[in-house]
Symmetry: C2
């Protein structure tokens, strides 16, 4: 952190180059639309050594496409530009004038800010908004029966290429035990563009896609779609830099972050966001109250609706796709936290609680909620209704403070939908396993099936340093129960700011949780990747096993630690058991023996064959690879 | 691995010394018995900075007690020696003559074996066994109504010191939401020695404690006790050494392994076990078929009952506490695996399957099951009935092969209990989340509540390199549902042999899973540690937060990475949000403000206090620590 600027940039460039490397045996391909032939939905194709191809959901954007030249100082290609233009319901306009306070100082002549702005010059875009009387949200289009390119994009993306999955999908059709338990979700066999439209129209899914973020590759968050994950990045008052945050973004989406929240709280907030949004192919969320608070020098009591409103517009113009707004934390709920072990642990929540108590007034986020909706619908910014009263420890889980706020979020959802503003609901936090399902049930009951977006939950409090694991358990469970997006927790939670290795560790833990949820729900095709990997494992196709895994590099490195030789990648045994004890090898031999006799194992067994047993015994004497060749 | 012997030993000594360091702010204390005043149950007391003391379950044995001198070349103090003597139902005897083949060679003059034996000379003990007609199992005593010292030891250990928990236990009594959901378990408020006896008598719990392992600190495995974890160690044909394995044992119990299995498959098996058992305060399990197979040169078809029987006696005399025996894998079940994606993945299972097919005979483990019981009861070796047909991938979960074997294990449990042999049942493996509960239900239904001991299960197959996480999710869930012991999975699963860092990563992941299960089940006091840590977190007692966590070192290191200064350990903010945004700090200020006014927050709110709001605003201006002091 204290290295000179030059070496920082050099190392940043190197890191970025590394984050851009295509995954092994992988190429980026695109699938065109039918309703909208111009759309090109990216997928990662993994070429297996047996000639098969597996195609995977790809969150990494153009970064892993070597054919795309990217200069992060000028931003990504604008995938959605033409789609937005074609709708002809928006207009470019002057936009709000930039102020020094947006980047943390009242000194309009600040040299730091001038330098920041110069560096970000090529990232500036003229904003657009809805023309008078128009509503440009995906929900608005959906309710009018319009299938937007964004919706078809999502449909294609959710399905993936079904061709390669056929073998595995057939299994699930044949055996009930493999069909999954959707826990009340209505997951279709094939996601059609019309299905996406319908889900968005009824509020059961959102497609976060600000019209000022044309770089975004559309994705959906909803109970009937694949479970998504969010990664938080952002500089803080204490540490970290802009370059680090952009690199973390690219790094995060490489490993599978479907969404990224910029939680910056230090100086340079506005410019950091320019860098992040312009370079992000995934939706970006923020918590606008953080920046608003910076603008009033960190004094919560000095916040006003006007400053907050101005901040919403500032960020909507930049292209933020969803805002966390803690509008459900009402004055009458605050006293409910008095007996808690850890009080209010949400930053946004505690800021608003402080404001409410200091002024003894109802929260301006609540009283101005429809004014906020009016802004959101002009840019298609989605609500992420914040849970400012989420529990901060196991002992505070599912208490009245938490659920009173949740019910209020349900009321606000109805209001948001009146304005056709896309809405999801944030959830906890810290919840022991046996109390997780009640969270999902309460949310479904009170929030009208608006997507649930939870932080973990952490199932225990005693694992600082490993909270990505303590929370992945809760996240997998609540994902199965119906949560649409899981906000990751890194190993540094409660202790410090995550570095890039922590970001990766958090993301992988959450990809595991989300995938475990998809498999349990029986999302068509979710298990196909597992099946393909297990088949590769059984057939000793080591490279395929690595390349189909969530982190091919780590899988290969771990294998190399014990058996470094290239030849061992072809070996029909592995380092755990050595050549003589490999159970998979033995199983295969058993099968081959049965096949060689021209009979199935079952038939062979039924015939009772002493002679064949003899042959097997003799053949068995020669099947071992000598130990020497293994080490 | 290829370092010269001297440097290996030097580094081994260093590593061992490090593994013996007491945890920060911790001292080893002992609690005496009431029925058996001579017993001294170890606990780790953590002294907090606020003067409170928290006492924790301690698996680390005498290693973390600086007052105990330990020479691993002569083994640990014999805690149970006097108890076993006092029962007067065993006798020392000559024992089976050691053979070179026990350590992997037919050359009785082998210089390697002679050297091995010399090095382990001080670890040799004369074995004892039951006197003719006696049965020395804990189950046998329990059924006769005898409360053994082992049983009282377990009772004290399970309860912990309840004094410090009182504040937290009161919570659970007050609010139903904090009481847990035992999912059918019958967890008492206080574990009495009589309760332990009863659980052991009815087979619902086991206390693995071979009479030839007097070094063991007794512990229980059962659905109504704390969820336990097992760590696997052991050298293999391909790599690793004896010293490494002993150090891994000490390392494993330091981090919380309740049991350790020695899965050695290479040479030196017998002597490795001498080192491990003599130096282990936790029960040691093995899979005897591994060594038996070594004795027949790795040719499964050449296995005989006589060789296997001889191996059981060899290991029982050494003090192994439980044997994994795949006696439920019967000839008629093997064909059920033919259509599986990954066939038979259990090593022991595939060895026996190969034997059965080659001879076209029923498994000798099944046909000789009562002969095996006769051996077990003379030493009090417990059964861990192996699941040789467990699924090796999600697609094979819960299939007929798996459940046919499980039902057979239930039959065998009845047979074992006829001989008063303590028994637990092994379970999978690879099981998607929605299929986990069925595993527990089938096990409860068919295995008469004998403790379940599962490997994970892994909830997905695509996470090689992170299977400790993919499986901790399944382990936590099945632990909540009623599994008594969770066999850990390390990050190296499927890829290579775990090194010490992998062992630690696996153990921590499984301590998280086990603890999450205990909290969900509502085990009295389980949540008290979480509450104490959360209280420390809320009160900015950083050192207490670290010291109460599963891995104090890592928690502190992570904190130091962002805020290295000692002063920041006293700081009333943390690195995540910086001094201005700390929500806990804000919450505390809100409370302090209310308290200073002599009114509760609620009352204050109800009074509607414009003047007080003013005071708060003024006070609020001064509460921030300047940023400069934080960095």
């Amino acid at each position: 952190m204290n290295a000179p600027l030059d070496s920082k940039l050099a190392s940043f460039t190197e890191l970025l180059a590394r984050a851009r490397e295509p995954f092994p045996a992988s190429t980026k391909t695109h699938v065109a639309g039918a309703v909208h032939p111009q759309i090109a939905v990216p997928m990662r194709e993994v070429k297996l050594t047996n000639g098969e191809t597996v195609s995977l959901y790809d969150t990494s954007g153009p970064y892993t496409d070597p054919k795309v030249a990217i200069d992060i100082r000028s931003g990504l290609p604008q995938v959605r530009r033409g789609w937005i233009d074609a709708r002809a319901d928006t207009a470019f306009y002057e936009g709000r004038a930039l102020q020094a306070v947006d980047d943390g100082t009242k000194d309009e002549a600040s040299a730091r800010v001038a330098e920041l702005r110069r560096e970000a010059a090529a990232l500036q875009r003229q904003p657009r908004k809805a023309i008078p009387g128009a509503n440009v949200t995906q929900m608005h289009y959906a309710k009018k029966g319009i299938i937007t390119p964004e919706m078809e994009y999502v449909a294609i993306r959710e399905n993936g290429r079904r061709e390669w999955m056929a073998e595995y999908l057939a299994d699930a059709g044949r055996e009930a035990r493999l069909a999954g338990n959707p826990m009340g979700a209505s997951i279709p066999k094939i996601v059609t563009p019309e299905f996406v439209r319908d889900e968005v129209a009824r509020g059961r899914a959102i497609i976060p896609a600000n019209i000022n973020h044309p770089e975004v590759e559309p994705m959906a968050i909803g109970r009937n779609f694949l479970v998504k994950i969010n990664a938080n990045i952002g500089n803080s008052a204490v540490t970290s830099s802009i370059e680090e945050e952009v690199e973390k973004l690219v790094w995060a989406i490489r490993w599978g972050a479907d969404n990224v929240m910029d939680l910056s709280t230090g100086r340079n907030i506005h410019t950091t966001r320019d860098w992040i949004v312009r370079n992000s192919p995934v939706p970006i969320g923020t918590v606008p109250i953080y920046q608003a608070l910076e603008k009033v020098g960190g004094v919560a009591e000095d916040l006003t609706w006007e400053i907050y409103r101005d901040t919403l517009i500032e960020q909507a113009e930049q292209g933020v796709d969803y805002f966390t707004i803690h509008a459900g934390l009402r004055l009458p709920f605050i006293h409910l936290t008095a007996a808690r072990r850890t009080g209010i642990v949400s930053r946004g929540g505690s800021i608003m609680a402080k404001w409410c108590i200091a002024h003894h007034k109802e929260s301006f986020l609540y009283t101005h909620f429809e004014d906020i909706c009016d802004i959101m619908k002009q840019y298609d910014v989605s609500f992420s209704l914040g849970d400012g009263l989420r529990p901060g420890c196991a002992a505070d889980a599912n208490d009245e403070a938490q659920f009173a706020e949740l019910r209020t979020l349900g009321e606000l959802t109805k209001l948001a939908w009146k304005h056709d503003v896309q809405t999801m609901i944030e959830g906890p936090g810290h919840v022991p396993m046996h109390m997780i399902q009640a969270n999902m049930e309460e949310q479904l009951k009170h929030c009208h099936e608006a997507p649930f977006y939870t932080l973990g939950p952490l199932t225990i409090d005693v694992a600082p340093g490993y909270d990505h694991i303590a929370s992945a358990i809760g996240a997998a469970m609540i994902g199965w129960f119906g949560t649409a997006m899981l906000c990751y927790v890194t190993p540094k939670e409660h202790l410090g700011l995550p570095d890039r290795e922590d970001v990766k560790a958090g993301i992988i833990a959450y990809k595991i949780a989300a995938h475990a949820a998809d498999v349990a729900k029986g999302h068509p095709g979710a298990r196909a990747r597992d099946d393909a990997l297990s088949k590769a494992r059984f057939e000793f196709r080591w490279h395929d096993q690595f390349n189909l895994s969530l982190d091919p590099e780590t899988a290969r490195d771990f294998h190399d630690e014990t058996l470094p030789k290239d030849s061992s990648k072809e070996a029909h045994f592995c380092s755990m058991c050595g050549p003589k004890f490999c159970s998979m090898k033995i199983t295969q031999e058993v099968r081959e023996f049965a096949a060689a006799q021209g009979v199935s194992e079952q038939a062979a067994l039924e015939q009772g064959m002493a002679q064949k047993a003899d042959e097997f015994r003799r053949a068995g004497g020669e099947i071992y690879i000598p130990i020497a060749s293994a080490t």
